[in-house]
């Protein structure tokens, strides 16, 4: 009887020690689900989801506080991927949220007064300039979030839809009709 208790408690202590050790040794920093969701989000950082960036939105989704259909830049494909990751049903966009074609901001340099307000609004530091100096958009870094458009006091920022060129052209899905064999 005593032997059995000793053996069992010995095993319990040994396993407890292993568990305790692995809890310290293999500790996971942060929530890995947040990272996975964040990897799917398009990183436009536009705030259209109601959160101040993609990471906060990912955190909210992981916590079950936010719906998965709040990201228009991610498109329906984004929703599909989130649904697959989280094991939930696909949810279409609510009324009023329409994915837009990819665009970048453009500063009319004749009008810009160099107020730096757009510089402060840009979430990815894609505007170069300084106080009382002309500002300009670094097109290759611009995510098209439109956050710089509203703060501009002289309305010199417009969104330009990227034109289709040979470099970004894609092959189309083949369209043909299946016919009944005679």
């Amino acid at each position: 009887m005593l032997d059995a208790i000793l053996v069992m408690s010995g095993i319990a202590i040994a396993l407890g020690a292993v568990l305790g050790f692995s809890a310290i040794k293999f500790k996971v920093e942060g929530n890995p689900l947040v990272e996975k969701i964040d990897a799917i989000l398009p990183q436009i950082q536009c705030g259209q989801c109601g959160y101040p960036g993609c990471k906060p939105y990912a955190t909210a989704i992981a916590a079950g506080e936010a719906d998965i259909n709040k990201c228009p830049p991610g498109g329906e494909e984004g929703i599909r991927k989130l649904a697959a990751l989280l094991g939930v049903e696909f949810k279409p966009f609510g009324a009023g949220t329409v994915p837009k074609p990819k665009a970048v901001a453009f500063i009319d340099e004749n009008i810009c007064i160099g107020c730096t307000l757009c510089l402060q609004a840009c979430p990815v530091d894609a505007i170069s300039g300084a106080a009382k100096q002309m500002h300009t958009i670094i097109t290759s870094e611009c995510t098209g979030c439109e956050l710089c458009v509203a703060p501009c006091p002289v309305d010199c920022i417009s969104m330009v839809i990227l034109p289709q060129t040979i470099q970004n052209w894609k092959w189309q899905y083949p369209v043909y009709t299946l016919v009944q064999a005679k």
């Binding site: 989000l41 995510t143 092959w171 009709t177 064999a181």
Partner: protein, 548 residues
């Protein structure tokens, strides 16, 4: 006798080579207008260095290579630059591209040419020459040659591709028959660059004249001419390497991975023209065939409109419509006859409904697996088709979609006439676009996180600076004042300082006055005293202050 190997699959389409290989090649005359796209090669677009109105000489640099993987562009003849603007180019998208348009002046005057002895040049100098000479692979993909030959790895085998497996095309055949010696001299330059242990030229056995000409030219050079069985697509780089060496390029890899470099014979010829004659890549051999009166090969200036070349071949036969640039298996179908010949254009086939009947309507896949039997890359085309059709791109990638060379053998044998290659191209471009998007999203994430960190850091630094300033001020005040209440003593000290300053300050204009001025001052003082007195008499201190 060399042991040859076989690759998986392959097909035997009708060759149609005799039509154009009977006549010797000819020089095409100067066209009315030359259109030179800035992007004729794989890699970065060349940068135009001429403007509309500039006069240029034949062989003059008009666009320079930008970045590592790029190729320069030269004026194919002397004349005037008409424009540097968007123009239609041969591309499946039908989108316009930046082009330099040149009006020939008819003189065809060369710029100064500097023939070189390649043995006196270092490899780096030679590679730079190839880059500035605009040399790209002439087998079809137009990959910049200097990049291909800049490997520091030791190379076992250099393979020259003279297989020319696509039906109708005979440019390499004619080039090897007529200019074998020059090709061999070009190969010598390439061998100097790579120092391979062995050099092989693979030629399909349906070109006996080319084989014998090359064998004659290669005598005592250590270059081996190998006749390989005719089977489409033996001219594919990986397929030819398999046939000649038995080695397979690993999935997703390059011939370099197995110590082999493969180049087209026409590229070797272009290298020879550049090094031995100082002539950059401004022309190439093009087969004009199909529904034309006299199919023939022509030495054509880059930028020549294809309809002018069709006229040279006796003109299109009645009932022809549209062209194929390249071969019927992999070529680009176009309708516009004003499109220019680019560096990668090896053949122009004029289409007619008799020669190229419209494809029969596609039927559902019956899973007969004939495509898998024909696939030279040993893939499962039927699976790839399903995945591409269902837009299941991850799965398509897993099934090695990117090892597909788009040779069209699967679609050729498909009894349901499915446009299989179109599906693969669609899936490939979707995957590439998605990877690009993902990369830019990752970059945006890094920038966003860096910005948050920066803002936090700046806030921190500002707070620290303020704290330090305050501390410093406190220290000085402590030293100056007694240990009394610091704020009070500070104020006291300030008042004291102000008083002292006021006492020390004197009006500047009361010294060295003229008698007249002194009299004026005295008069004013008197009036002021009077006013003072009057104010005192009224007895309101408030008003006194005001009057003061």
């Amino acid at each position: 006798m060399r042991t040859l190997y076989t690759f998986h699959g392959g097909v035997h389409p009708d060759e149609h080579k005799l039509e154009s290989s009977e006549l010797p090649s000819a020089q095409a005359p100067l066209p009315q207008r030359l259109v030179l796209p800035l992007q004729q090669h794989i890699g970065a677009k060349a940068k135009a260095i001429v403007q509309a109105g500039d006069k240029v000489l034949k062989g003059q640099l008009i666009a320079r290579a930008e970045g590592m993987v790029s190729a320069a562009l030269h004026a194919p003849t002397s004349g005037t630059i008409l424009s540097v603007d968007l123009n239609a180019v041969p591309h499946p998208s039908d989108l316009p591209e930046q082009c330099i348009t040149l009006a020939p002046d008819g003189e065809d005057r060369w710029i100064d040419r500097f023939p070189l002895d390649y043995r006196t040049l270092s490899k780096t100098e030679l590679l730079a020459k190839l880059r500035d000479g605009g040399i790209v692979g002439l087998g079809g993909a137009a990959f910049p040659t200097h990049v291909k030959f800049s490997s520091s790895q030791s190379i076992q085998t250099l393979v020259l591709n003279g297989a020319e497996c696509e039906p109708w095309i005979t440019t390499d055949d004619l080039l090897m028959r007529e200019r074998a010696a020059e090709i061999v001299q070009g190969i010598a330059v390439l061998r100097y660059l790579l120092e391979p242990a062995e050099t092989l030229i693979g030629i399909e056995d349906n070109k006996p004249q080319a084989i014998s000409a090359m064998q004659k030219a290669c005598a005592n050079t250590g270059i081996e001419v190998v006749s390989v069985p005719t089977l489409y697509p033996t001219g594919g780089e990986k397929q030819l390497l398999k046939v000649l060496t038995g080695k397979e390029v690993p999935s997703g890899g390059f011939p370099l991975n197995i110590g082999v470099v493969c180049s087209n014979v026409a590229t070797a010829y272009a290298v020879h023209r550049l090094i031995a004659h100082g002539e950059p890549m401004i022309s190439r051999m093009v087969t004009i065939t199909g529904s034309v009166k006299t199919p023939q090969n022509f030495e054509v200036l880059i930028g020549t409109p294809i309809e002018e070349l069709v006229k040279l071949a006796g003109g299109a036969l009645p009932d022809s419509e549209g062209y194929i640039l390249g071969g019927p298996m992999m070529g680009l179908h176009v309708d516009d006859g004003s499109l220019p010949v680019v560096k990668g254009t090896n053949c122009i086939i004029v289409k007619s409904p008799q020669l190229f009947p419209p494809p029969p309507l596609a039927l559902p896949c019956i899973r007969c697996i004939r495509c898998a039997q024909a696939c030279p890359a040993d893939l499962q085309p039927q699976e790839l088709y399903w995945f591409a059709k269902a837009k299941n791109f991850d799965k398509a990638k897993k099934y090695d979609l990117f090892d597909c060379i788009e040779c069209g053998a699967c679609a050729y044998v498909c009894p349901s006439h499915l446009p299989l290659v179109q599906y693969y191209r669609f899936a490939k471009s979707e995957i590439l676009a998605h990877e690009k998007e993902q990369a830019s999203a990752d970059a945006a994430r890094v920038r966003y996180e860096f910005r948050l960190e920066r803002i936090e850091r700046e806030k921190h630094e500002k707070a620290e600076r303020l704290a330090q300033k305050e501390k410093a001020a406190l220290e000085t005040s402590k030293q100056a004042a007694a240990p009394a209440d610091s704020a009070q003593s500070l104020i006291q000290a300030a008042i004291e300082r102000a008083r002292q300053q006021a006492a020390a300050a004197k009006p500047h204009n009361i010294e060295q006055l003229t008698p007249a001025q002194q009299a004026q001052v005295a008069e004013i003082e008197a009036r002021r005293a009077e006013a003072h007195e009057l104010a005192h008499q009224k007895d309101t201190p408030h008003e006194t202050n005001n009057a003061d």
